[in-house]
């Protein structure tokens, strides 16, 4: 178990700043995810840790050992590549043996370790197969086995599932998580898929433009996004903005698109402009006469579009000036048709307020 310390590292490619001063303390044994849109510098940062990308400034440490000055083949950081990078001229066993040979592991021990590694990724008995005989998911597992068999200090995964189909992705991510838990190996996982990040990580760093925007546990960054960008990037949300027109006991009242919304208000002055996020699943449908829980707010809206997705239904409501509000409800609410009006209710405590952009 090795902690990873990334200390103010930066890297520019000519005028393009790929990583603009990132500092992270990754705890020994955790699965840490770098999440962000395309081009935000995730891969560059990961490759800095592996030693394939130069640092313009800053330091990287594994435990107490400074490694950014160590050549990549001496870092003992196991990396799984997006395209698996399985050597096509070697069998599965040959691929797994590759790193052991470089470490001069004696023959008998090598055999045992290869077998164990293949068992670990549920590919026992696949040693004699050739890479071209394997499916994408199996290649992915070979890549993992090849990497884990050398017992690296840390595990680096760059979008390891992006070449797989949707169902296999869900299966493999659970497997990777289980494996990581079993081995307790410090892992940096790169992805641009927020669901994947939320599903498997101990902690997530959301990146944008080469910087870390927010750092926290999945629940934390989902519920308490620090910026409109993070809120929007982590799943669908309603991002609204407007001036604070009143203050009530439940919070502040914001006038957005001609509609008054109540939001949690810690120290927002009247007249200030704010943005806030209201998650679709935080909004509920309510019969018009029904009593509201204390503090909740309500608004009238008209159904603009219904999208039935099986387990949940996404509904777009138009309100006031015709602006749209996204709502997600479980199942299919009865008697709801396009054009119908409905009462929407929400708990202001579920909103997240940001300083106006």
């Amino acid at each position: 178990m090795t902690a990873i310390r990334i200390d103010d590292v930066a890297r520019a490619y000519g005028p393009v700043v790929a990583v603009a001063g990132v500092s992270l303390d990754i705890v020994a044994g955790e699965l840490f995810t770098l999440l962000g849109p395309s081009g935000c510098g995730k891969t560059t940062l990961l490759r800095m840790v592996a030693g394939f990308s130069k640092l313009d400034r800053g330091r990287i440490l594994f435990g107490d050992r400074r490694i950014d000055t160590v050549p990549p083949h001496r870092r003992n950081a196991g990396m799984v590549f997006q395209n698996y990078a399985i050597f096509p001229n070697m069998t599965v066993g040959g691929n797994v043996a590759y790193g052991l040979k470089a470490r001069h592991v004696p023959g008998a021990e090598m055999k045992a370790r290869i077998a164990r590694a293949l068992e670990l990724v549920r590919l026992g008995g696949f040693g004699e197969r050739w890479p071209h005989q394997l499916s994408g998911g199996q290649l992915q597992r070979v890549a993992l086995a090849r990497c884990l068999v050398v017992e690296p200090d840390v595990l680096l995964l760059d979008e390891p599932l992006s070449n797989l189909d949707a169902q296999l992705r869900v299966e493999m991510r659970a497997e990777i998580r289980a494996l990581q838990q079993k081995l307790r190996i410090t892992t940096i996982y790169v992805t641009h898929d927020q669901e994947e990040a939320l599903a498997i990580s101990d902690r997530v760093a959301v990146m944008r433009g080469g910087r870390v925007q927010q750092l926290g546990t999945p629940a934390n960054i989902y519920r308490r996004p620090a910026s409109a960008f993070v809120a929007a990037f982590l799943g669908t949300t309603n991002l609204l903005s407007g001036p604070v027109v009143a203050r009530t006991s439940a919070g502040a009242v914001v006038l957005a698109d001609g509609q008054r919304f109540t939001v949690t208000a810690d120290g927002i002055a009247e007249g200030a402009r704010v943005s806030f996020s209201l998650r679709p699943e935080a909004i509920h449908l309510s019969a018009s006469g029904e009593a509201l829980p204390p503090g909740w707010a309500a608004l009238e809206a008209r159904v603009a579009r219904i999208e039935f997705l099986g387990a949940i239904t996404r509904i777009e409501f138009s309100y006031a000036d015709g602006a749209l509000l996204r709502v997600a409800v479980l199942g299919l609410p009865p008697g709801l048709a396009e054009g119908a009006t409905a009462r929407l209710v929400y708990d202001p405590a579920q909103t997240t307020v940001f300083p106006a952009p």
């Binding site: 990549p72 196991g78 590549f81 790193g99």
Partner: protein
């Protein structure tokens, strides 16, 4: 693949070795040619008199004019023939496409002067065809002169245009083409807007290769130009000196020749660099629906061009198995020509094999690391290498040969009269091809494979030899055989550099041309053709799999 903050030593090391090698055996000889051209006859004081003399002599001016004219006409002719041919292969239903494609690249590797000589056998003064034509009342058809030169050059070099054009036609994004037509654009406009911008740079790049090859080719004009002055031949004659050697004037012609080809090379590089921005279609465009008439026309045209370009080679092989009495051929099968050829000496065949093997191996040893650095590093060293390794393209074999003789016939390093000077000349000349072939092979090997190996604890150097080289092996073998084959039929620098014991097959052929023994010449030609085709047939699959192309 940079490691930490350490400077990558590998590319710098390769650049240093390449620079030392090319500096000594290419730039230094070229410098000496240039020096000879600007010094007086004593070789001491600076003068422009040599240039003045060349430019004021009608005979030399005519040589420059003829060379450029033939170059331009050939370029235009190859485009006129090659582009429709590429279109037929890419988009029309032509029967036997795989075979057609395999044969279509062949004219480039078959020795051009053998082709020229074959045309003489067919359409020369005593040619088989010209005599047949004369008997049916069409006298005076002749392969000699500008028309014949352009014809032979065109049939030799059209693949330079056809192959890139074919790749470009296949890279045209049909969805854009279709979108254009959906929006109501006429077929012609769609072609102008969508197809042409993709194909044009490829065609121009190929055309410039044709121009360079035509300008520097020595063998074809030697056979077909007769008394008409041609730069490459004049430079050779002035240097070898039937009436006393004149390195100064030979130097002037050499400088002019290299100047022209360098301009063409720079233009070519410019277009090649831009070509990367062409659209990359994911699927090859579909074959067009064509009427039966059009199908026949396309098939007939494509096969017609390819067969006509190969016919002379078939013809000369057939002729070599006939009995000759002096220059007169009798329709009587016989092995006499070969017996005569080999009874004189088996040295030339052995020499050719030995020299080509040494040079091809050398080109691979030098070319593969250079190609590796070019594809995998983006440092300053890589850029310098990129330019340096392409320069030999622009250097006519004759001029390089002259430079090597001037540079290494006395002083601290004497190479003239030995075999090494031939190997070095071949090595320099074929290096660009080898570098580009290696780069093409490497482009197909994902860099993350090497990174995975390093990540598993294998140093970059051991990764290169233990993983990259084995992955490249098939392609390297294919590329090296291709190099071997073109070296075996190299004439232009050989003819300047060979010495008695190091006579090659091409020299035997060359000497036979100067004499009148058509039998021996055709036998030598047949051996050369076999030496070219047989190895290629063995590695054809390797070449295709690893995407090693001549152009």
């Amino acid at each position: 693949m940079t490691s930490g903050r350490a400077r990558p030593l590998f590319p710098i090391g390769v650049a240093v070795v390449a620079f030392a090698f090319l500096g000594l055996f290419m730039l230094y000889p070229l410098w000496n040619v240039f020096r000879a051209s600007i010094l007086d006859s004593a070789g001491e004081t600076f003068t422009l008199a040599n240039y003045a003399k060349v430019l004021s002599t009608a005979f030399y001016r005519a040589g420059i004019f003829n060379s450029l004219l033939i170059g331009i006409l050939t370029t235009l002719a190859t485009i006129a023939i090659g582009v429709p041919l590429a279109f037929c292969v890419a988009r029309m239903p032509v029967p036997g496409k795989p075979l057609l494609l395999a044969l279509a690249a062949l004219p480039l590797v078959l020795p051009s002067f053998v082709g020229a000589y074959a045309w003489v056998l067919l359409l020369g003064r005593q040619g088989i065809l010209s005599q047949a034509l004369a008997t049916v009342g069409v006298p005076g058809v002749s392969i000699y002169g500008i028309g014949g030169l352009v014809l032979v050059f065109t049939l030799h070099t059209f693949p330079y245009v056809m192959l890139p054009a074919l790749a470009a036609f296949k890279a045209v994004d049909v969805s854009i083409e279709e979108a254009g037509q959906n929006l109501g654009a006429s077929r012609l406009r769609t072609f102008q807007r969508v197809t042409l911008p993709v194909v044009m740079p490829a065609v121009l790049a190929g055309g410039l290769l044709v121009f360079m090859e035509t300008l520097e080719n020595f063998g074809v004009p030697f056979v077909l130009a007769e008394d008409m002055p041609i730069l490459a031949v004049q430079a050779y004659k002035l240097f070898v000196g039937e009436a006393g050697a004149n390195p100064a004037l030979a130097g002037v012609l050499g400088v002019l020749l290299v100047g022209c080809t360098t301009v063409a090379l720079l233009l070519q590089r410019f277009y090649l660099a831009r070509r990367r921005f062409a659209t990359a279609a994911r699927t090859a465009p579909p074959t067009l629906a064509a009427s039966r008439w059009l199908r026949w026309a396309a098939g007939g045209y494509a096969w017609g061009v390819v067969l006509v370009s190969l016919v002379p080679f078939f013809a000369i092989v057939a002729v070599s198995f006939m009995r000759f009495k002096g220059p007169v051929m009798h329709l009587e099968p016989s092995l006499d020509n070969f017996l005569n050829l080999f009874s004189r000496s088996q040295r030339p065949l052995a020499n050719t094999i030995m020299l080509a093997t040494a040079a091809a191996a050398g080109a691979a040893i030098l070319g593969v690391p250079i190609g590796y650095v070019l594809t995998r590093f983006r440092s300053g060293a890589a850029h310098i290498l990129d330019v340096l390794a392409m320069v030999p393209f622009a250097v006519a074999g004759t001029v390089l040969g002259i430079g090597l003789v001037i540079s290494f016939n006395s002083g601290w390093l004497v190479l003239t009269g030995g075999w090494l000077i031939l190997v070095l000349a071949y090595l320099v000349r074929k290096l660009p091809f080898n570098v580009r072939a290696s780069a093409a092979i490497l482009h197909q090997i994902d860099p993350s494979l090497e990174e995975a190996s390093i990540n598993l604890g294998v140093s970059p150097l051991r990764t290169f030899f233990g993983l990259t080289v084995p992955l490249m092996a098939g392609g390297i073998i294919g590329g090296t055989v291709l190099t071997w084959v073109t070296i075996a039929s190299e004439l232009s620098s050989t003819v300047v550099l060979y010495s008695g014991p190091w006579t090659t097959l091409t020299v035997v052929m060359f000497q036979a041309l100067e004499g009148t023994s058509a039998g021996a010449a055709s036998a030598a030609a047949t051996v050369l053709i076999l030496v070219t085709i047989v190895p290629l047939a063995f590695v054809y699959r390797l070449l295709k799999r690893h995407d090693v192309a001549l152009v």
